[in-house]
Each structure stands twice: as C-alpha cells, then as structure tokens.
Symmetry: D2
Subunit: 338 residues, 4 copies
C-alpha cells in the first residue's frame, strides 16, 4: 500500500501515519519527494481494507493499493489454467463448452424438443431457467421445482449436462439435486449470502458477471467461493450496462483475454444476454471464440416468437445449428474443438 | 403497446402481427404511415411482457411500450403522497427523516456512543450494519445477531429507531425482531428472492437504489413489494456507477424530484455512499434537502480513522452536528422541519 | 412520431395537440386506448425535431419517434453495402483493410521503419498522427506539417496509403494534400464545424466513434457528411467509455454487426484504443474480424518502450506480423482476404 | 510516479527500469516489499507522460501517477479562490452569477422579450446560442452572425452581459466582438484546436464539462487555457452521460464541492441540460446553490412550446421568476446574494 501525503503535510502528520501503519502491522518505508512525501506500507495488504481508512487521517491525500485484492483465483499463485471437470466434460480444456437452451423452462415439450435440437447441433450442456429473476413481478417467474425435474428428464433423454440458476439460498440443495452446474446469475454476483452458502452444494458453479461489475469485482466474487475451498468455478462474461441503448447490454469481449491473464479459472461468454438481439448473436459468438473464450452460453428456443421470456434474443434451431458449424471452424483456428 | 413494422413489411406479415396481438388478448389499431405501418395494441400491457416478443416476428422493427410498467407504486393510481409511519415518525411527512450512524456496528461502546451523538444532533433513526455486504471475503463481515442486539440496546438508551440491512432471506425474521425499518441494500435491490420474502417481516422497508439501476427499475423493485401488499416502502437514492472515478459513485439528485413525480412513496438520500468522500457529504446533504428529499441517511463514526469500514466517508461527530444545524435551515425553506 | 397523452389529459389538451401537429404539417391519427390516448403524427419526421417540443405541451406525457433519424447513410434507402475506394483499395470489399502504424509520427526514422514493417506484414495503409489531440497541454502535440511530409515520404517508399487525423478546420486542406484518407478522431465526432468543412477536402473520411457516442449518434455524424454529398465515409469502432477501468475503453464489438444492419457504410475496428493494453490487441483484432469488421486500425511501433504516446498499447513489430498471419485465417473463414 | 514491478520481475528487469527512469531525468527510490518491488521515480512528473510508457517495459505491472496532472488551475499552487471579473460582475464572488435565456436565438422578438424577462427576475447574463451544435444535420443550426447581433442588441436594451458559444476556431473573433463571456460547449471541451485558439479573443471563457468527461479531464481542458496564460475561466457542470435514460443526462452535483476543493476557478451549474426536463430544473437549481455553485445557467423561453430547440427543458417566464425568488433564499443561507 502506498500512502500519498498532501503537499503541505506536517512532520507531525507524517509521523502519525507512520504510527498508524505500524499499529496495523506493516513496515514503513517513506520516500521524500520534491513536492510531497509518499509512504510505502510493506506487508500483505489483502484483507487489510483498514489501511484504506488512512485516507481519513489528516494530511493524507490518497491511499493506493499495490497488490491485487484477489489471491486464490489469481494467476500469481497458480500459473496453470484450471479445468473444471463436470462429469465427462472439462471446461477450460481444448474442448469448447457449448451450453444452449431456452431462457426459461416453459413446459415438457418445449424443453425436451430444445434439448434434442441443441444436442444434435453439438452442445454438451442444456441451459434453462427454473427460478427466474424478472424485473417485473407481473412477468413469468419460472416453473421452479417442476422445471428442475423437466431439465433432469431432458438430461436423461439426451445425455446433456444441466446448467440452471439458483437465486435463493433456501433452494441451493434442491437445485444441486438436479443440476450438473449451478449458475449464479448476473444480478446475484454480489449476493454474498448466496455466495457463502452455495458451496454446500458441492457442485461446480457458473458465476456470471454482474451488469455493473468490474472485472476485478467478478474476481472478488469468485474469491468468496475460493476462500471457502470451492475452486470449481467458471466465469461468464454476459454484457455490462453502459450508455448505449441500441443493444440490451454491451458485451465486453476484452474481458475474455483480460481474465485469462488475471485468473486461472475458465471463462465463457453469453452473447445472447450480451446484446439482446437475435441477429447479433452469431457474429458475437464467433468473436468470443476468436477472443479466446472457453465456451459459449446461448439461448435457443424451438419457437422464439412464443417464448415466455427473452424471445427476441433466442436463436431459431436452424440458426443455432448453422452457428455451431461456423464455431467449429473458429475453434479449430484456436487449436480447440467442440 | 405500439408495434412498428419494418419499411418493407408485407401485407402477410402485418396480418400475422394482427393475429398475434389478438391472440394475446389485445385490440388492434393500425396506422398506415408514409414509410411504414405502425400498429397500436390496445389493452393493459403491464404483465404482458409477451407483447415484447413480437420483436421476434418477421417484419417487426420494434415494440414500444406505452404504459409505465409499474402500477401500484405509481402516482397515476394514487395521487397523494404516502407517509410511511414508523412508530412516532412519519417518513414522507413535513418532518425530515434523519438516519445516522456508522457503516458497521463494531462494538458496544462504538454504537452506544454514536447513538447518543446522532440523537443529540437531531437524528430520529440509528443506522448500523450487522450483516455487511463486502466486496472482499477478507473484509470485516459484521457482528451479525450480536450487532442487532447492540442496536436494540442503543434504541433502549436513546429512543432512536433502528434501521439495519438484511441480506439473506433466512435472516429476515431475526432482523425484524430488532429493527424498526429493514434495509434492502443497493446490491440486493434486484435480489428477487429477498424481495419476495421480506414482506413476511411485516416491517417498513428502506429500499436502496442499485448502483446500476435505472429509476424505473427501482420502482419495479418497489412494485415487487407492493404486489404482495407491502406498501410501507421508503426509496433511497445513494449514487449510481458511472465512468467518473473521482467519487465512489455519482449521486443522482435528479432522481429525487423525478421519483416524486413518478411515485407516491417517500424518497430519502444517502450522500455518504453517494460520493464516498467525507468533505463532500455536507454540501450534498444540503443539496438533497433542496432537491426535495424526505430524509437523509448519513454515516457518522465517533472516530472514522479507526472505523472497520467506510471510514473515509463517515462524518466526525462535530461535522454531523454542524450539518444538522444547516439542514434545519434548508428544511425550513422547503416548509419542513427535523 | 407517436405522441402519448397523460392518463388524465382533457379533451381540450388532446385537441390542442391535434392542432399543433397539423400546424407542423403532419396528419393526425389518434388511438383512444383504455387508459390513455395515443396520437400518431403521420409524415416524414426527420429534421422535424420540433415535433419533440410537443413534450412541452400540457397533457403530453412523451413523444416517441418512429423513423430512424438518419436517412442517407441508412440501409433502408440503400440496401447494397458501399465500398469506399481509396486508390487501389476498396474498403468494404472482400479485402480487409489493414491500417497500421504508430500513434504519433515522431521522426523520419521511426515512421519509415514502421512503414516498412507494416507493409511487409500485409498492411495497405500507414496510420500516424501529425496533429495529436492530447488530454494534457504538457504532452507531445505532434509534428504537424512536418509529420504530414514524413508520412508522404513513407508512402513514396512503400506504396502504403496514408491515413491521418485532422483536428482544426484550418488544417483540412493541408492534411488533404498529404493524406489518402482523412481521419476525424473520436473527440471530434461531434465537432460539427469540422464535419461541415471537411467535405471540402474531397477525400475519403474515416469517422471514429466518440467514446460517449451511441451508435445512432455515430450515424448522425456520418449523416452530416452525407447531407453535404460526401458519401465516402468509413466508420470506426474504437471503444466507448464505461465504468470498467481495467481497460482504457470498452471495445463494443456488438456495434460491428449492428452497424452492418443499420448502414451501408464500411465499418472497421481499432482494438488498440479499444482496450489500451498491448496483450489484448491480438485477440480483439481477431474477434473484430470474426464479428464482421471490414478492416482493422492497429498501433504498431518499432520500439513501444520509447514511444512518445500510446506506447503501452502499441504492438511490437513481431507481434504485428504474427497477428497478420492469424488474421488472414480468420478473414478466410469470413470469405475475405488481406 | 510509482512503478510497480510484477511479482516475478528479475533483477535485470528492475535494473533496466532504474536506467530508464534516470534517462528520463528522475531519481530512483526502490522499496523492496514482501511480494514485489515498487520503485518511486522522484521529480515533477507532469508533462512527462513518457513515464507512463514504462508500462511497456518487461517486468513492469503498472505505473501509478502521484501528482495531479493539472498545476496552474489547481489549489495547491493558488489556495485563494479566483473571481472572474466580467465587466461589473465577479463570478466566484459572493454574488451568484445567474445566466439565463433560450437555447437558441431564434428571432429579434424572442431574444429581446426573453432578455427583459430574465433581467427583471434577477439574471445578470443573457445566454443564447447563435452557432448551435446539433446532433442532426436536419435540425436548426442557429442564426450565426445575425444571432450575435441580436444578442448585442439585447445587451444594449437591458444591460445584461452576453454569453454565447463558439464552435469553430474561425469564428472566435466574431463571437468575441459580441460576447462578454465565450462559451466552449460540452461537445468541444476536448476540441484542443479550439482551446488553443480561443485565448486570442482575450475574453473570459465559460468551459462546460463534456458529457463523458471526468472532473480531472475538465481541469486538464482548463489547464490548456491556463498554460497559454488565459486564467479567466469559469467551469460549468451540466450533466454527464450515464446508463440512466429517464433524464437527458445525470447532473453530477458532487462535482461542485469536488471542484471547489481541486481548483480555484469558479464553478457554475446548468440544470437545464443536466436533466432535460422542465419540472426538474427548479429543484436542481436550488440543490446546485446548496452544493456551493457560484452560479446557474438556465434555459428560459417566452414560449417553450414553440422553441426551435430544447423546448422541453426551458422554463416558462413565470417559473423562472418564481425560481429566482427561491434561489435568493438559498443563496442567503450560503452567505451569498444575487
């Protein structure tokens, strides 16, 4: 941690900062510059947000952290990239993980039909929401347990792995019973109660970036899981909120190579929520693979026009099959396969 | 709902949209313009997000909602402003609600000292976190139940009302046992599981705007509560996330008069989180009152330099007392008092 | 244009709006809904921002434009994609346009060396700033005319086409004398004085998206050029400003397929400014091609460590050559070549 | 400047950074921490953006500037607040500067009528655009020189001072001939060509914050003027672009007290552009005064419903008069007057 003193800071103020730094258990290393004094506080600053409070001390201009606030999920501790093994599929391996399906599980026919379609096109995972976070209380809220059972039935029939979201800590064990991969949705990325309890499920977790979350905050949310010994975590870029309103969100593909530098965890991309417009999903899916994504999460619906949610961003079955053909070629250029 | 057809939409496509609109239970009212056809779908569109799915239909360019998506919290249904009565204090009345206290309850002495200070300066509510949402798992996470008990003790001693946050649906009843006003924090504004269960507590709710939430989304979150019959809701503007990083968030004071136009619910302002810098809190608190806020939520700490969280934005006791003197004058200009 | 009346609008207010719409030269087409009246104003609304002023009229809740505000650059008027011909290179054709070079022209050796490097790797254009927009007045401001001459010398030696920025209307003719393609930088996208005069140069224009510009505003800036009869315009996505500060900007690759739907003009991508971090440039350049970009604008410097500007985002010569090899393969998948 | 080395940086890499720092003219002061080495570069780093380029050097993780990049406009050099004297009015003094008038000068009657109205209500400045930056080429572009003459005539008749915008460097002298205070609009805040030439006019300048400009960038734009010896600069907060679309922009009132800490220059607020909604202007104008603004810039139109631009955010004459009465009281609380 670097503490920058104000231009006119007095000797007494500087001494007081020395004392406070030492009280907090750090070594003091001052640099006396031309215009101002800068003080290095030497020691492991993580988990010591109290150093930040030195900004409250008279004469201090700002406190600049030096170390990255995450540790277990960072590449400094673990250079090698992690593979999250979910039954027979290794996410983060050379095989691209393809997760596809409808926004919501709507009924038996819809989910079974979709499962067959996406399986045939090459997906290894079936996505589908049973518990749905909806902006309006008047919108369809999901089939809940009934939806989970339908997902399990689809797995039975197709061999696809099931990924689905949990929103309430009370539902973690129910969801874990049916899911192969548990999704923490964008709105819950900083739902720390959920993050603290989800590890009980003992299942791999798909952690989606919040629309308001910096890459560093996504990593801190993953660090919550890792700090409890839960390391089977897949990160997902799915668009952030910006001033641009022509698309539902702004898909931040730079986060993909950036995350690959910062963390050993696998990173997948959800272009469907990323842009919210069906016709933009295929080019962005290909771009995600080119940018180095370890997988894709794509909304597909047998009849988007009748979907109970997100119809406007769901691919038609044909579009998805065509896209998978293209994606295979892009994957190959990256030394990967589906 | 207005459905705008593409420039080259065919007769068949237009007819298909007519059919779909009628299937969904609306009347059709087309306008044939010079360049394109626009179709009015007449009926109550709220809760009918399925109309939005018409954007999936070939030939449709966009779907424009006409009605506001919230209803119970809106001023169209209820012109008169609501007063949320919490024991002897009516939030939304001519009396400004002043809620003050530390970010976190740290220990008995800290919270009792703070309570006396803010009570004397004019606050009617004591704020203090027992369950803390922290970005890092290594940061202080709050005293939990122990913290709630200390808050209750402070109420006993001072007569202040207690406002504190709940994060986990499992804790709602515990928090309700000690709190007079239950806070849903910014990170949980769209934690729909929490919104659906918090009504059980049968206590007034302070709903903070998420850092990435539009005003309309804040109202939709309040609508979740109202749709369950829970009308004792106070809204709180506390800063949104923008590109500006000189302040912790960007306090959106325009939300105050805007919310007063859109909803009958009371609106308070939290300038401490809004800017994150102690010296900016007093001018912004005064500005909030001038903009029409029904109250203020302010962080005060007996010794900010030693605070376990948010020290840099907490007022010193003297600053808070001085601010309250100023605020009284501003309140008077608005025909209000503390 | 659709005018939505307030719920309680009176007959007189509605009649007044009818009158105003007719005064402005439009036909009136009302829809009387259950809760409120909606009025269609039929006619070409573009250039009639005065209709927007109806929001000032008592009883009016909002005014919703139906037509896109741009016309000449839109695909509705011209379905076929445009190719901007710059000497022997057609930007927007199957050939990807590769523009590369340093941020600033620094000296003769630097620019000539870079030109040879990028030429050999496959670029057809040499980029380099002679007039530099710099945030600080204390930073290097460019070599100005001297820099233009060096660019021209590099063209002479290599056959590369020259693309360089103009900032001041007074410099348009000088820049046009040396450049093959004139760049309007991100900060000047809405410098309407420059947009109105740059057409005099009678040279193709590269229009970069402002960091604060919506896609629609980028198209309106291009419409300024088109409205003066200047149609040789290439658009460039180069990152927008968001809350994410781990990258210099957030590269909005969804803008590429979106622009391809909305406009017939070619669209290229500048990943260097888009992310501001050298190591992220190659994956984002490949992603841009996969997303459908018509070309790339990339910063390359013979010795980034010594660059007078943007060194941290400039590729080393070797990196650029390696990237071009990769890009060729991605281009092929899109049916294109370099 | 602090250079943070990567965790695994080698001795040679560290030595190379030492060498580079010394080459650039700084003293080296290393701190050897537990996990990594941090190097202080001692000297005046402003204008030395080349230090930033050290981020390009192998082994360097990041470069952290210590000094604020602005100097002449900062309070470190000049503690006392500046008063910009414009004829008989001192902006930044205890007298609040009130600038009011229409968005655009539309015709003689409109501007003369408005001038009388705002004069009577207490304004000292008449605002009105003669050169208009408009998003669409099809919108009204202003009366240009004719508009300037009408503004001068209004000054003649009322004694109001004239503030109007210049967009093109070519028009600086013309505008200076008629204006008492020259406005650089938000879109031109980083139009460095304009900033470099506007000083020629030898007139005070009103510099509006760009919608995507950080406070620090606003100060750097002012520094451009100061670096040329032009110190009569007034800053204006007028709303920034965020994800919130219920208002035209998000008025950032925290910028007011923040700027008062960082710079000695006066700071005024434009609530009209800040929110874009007439009914929100009065509460935000009062809030701006409470937050410490040195003045207000407000759009007033004799008949907003017929305005050629910005009608929806212009106050009716009666509203403006009522607002001024309120503002006087708020000013008094701040020890100021109109």
């Amino acid at each position: 941690m670097i503490i920058v003193m104000e231009r006119g800071a007095t000797k007494e103020q500087i001494q007081h900062v020395f004392d406070r730094i030492r009280e907090l258990g750090y070594d003091v290393h001052p640099i006396y510059g031309v215009e101002r004094t800068v003080i290095g506080a030497i020691g492991d600053e993580r988990g010591k947000s109290r150093l930040q409070v030195l900004e409250s001390v008279p004469g201090v201009e700002k406190v600049v952290p030096i170390l990255k606030p995450f540790k277990l999920v960072g590449r400094e501790l673990r250079q090698q990239r992690s593979v999250v093994q979910i039954r027979h599929i290794g996410v983060g391996s050379d095989q691209l993980a393809i997760m596809a399906g409808p926004c919501s599980v709507e009924n038996r026919e819809q989910i079974l039909t979709t499962a067959k379609i996406v399986k045939e096109a090459g997906a290894q995972f079936l996505r589908g929401g049973a518990f749905k976070p909806r902006t309006s209380p008047y919108d369809f809220q999901g089939l809940e347990i009934e939806g989970l059972k339908l997902l399990a039935e689809a797995r039975e029939q197709t061999g696809l792995l099931v990924v689905t979201e949990v929103m309430n800590p009370r539902d973690i064990l129910s969801v874990a019973k049916y899911a192969d991969l548990i999704q923490i949705g964008a709105r819950n990325m900083q739902n720390f109660s959920l993050l603290k309890e989800v590890g009980q499920a003992n299942k791999p977790i798909l952690l989606k970036r919040g629309i308001m979350a910096k890459v560093q905050e996504l990593l801190m949310a993953a660090e919550y899981l890792a700090a409890q010994g839960h390391h089977n975590v897949i990160l997902c870029e799915r668009g952030i909120r910006t001033f641009e309103d022509a698309t539902r969100n702004t898909l931040d593909l730079s986060a993909v190579p950036l995350l690959r530098e910062l963390t050993h965890l696998p990173v997948i991309v959800d272009p469907s929520h990323g842009c919210g417009i069906r016709s933009l999903v295929p080019p962005l899916a290909k771009a995600a693979v080119a940018a180095g994504a370890d997988g894709l999460l794509i909304e597909v619906h047998p009849n988007p026009e009748e979907a109970l949610s997100d119809g406007q961003q769901s691919l038609f079955p044909d579009q998805f099959s065509a896209l998978m053909k293209d994606v295979r070629k892009y994957a190959e250029l990256e030394g990967r396969y589906i």
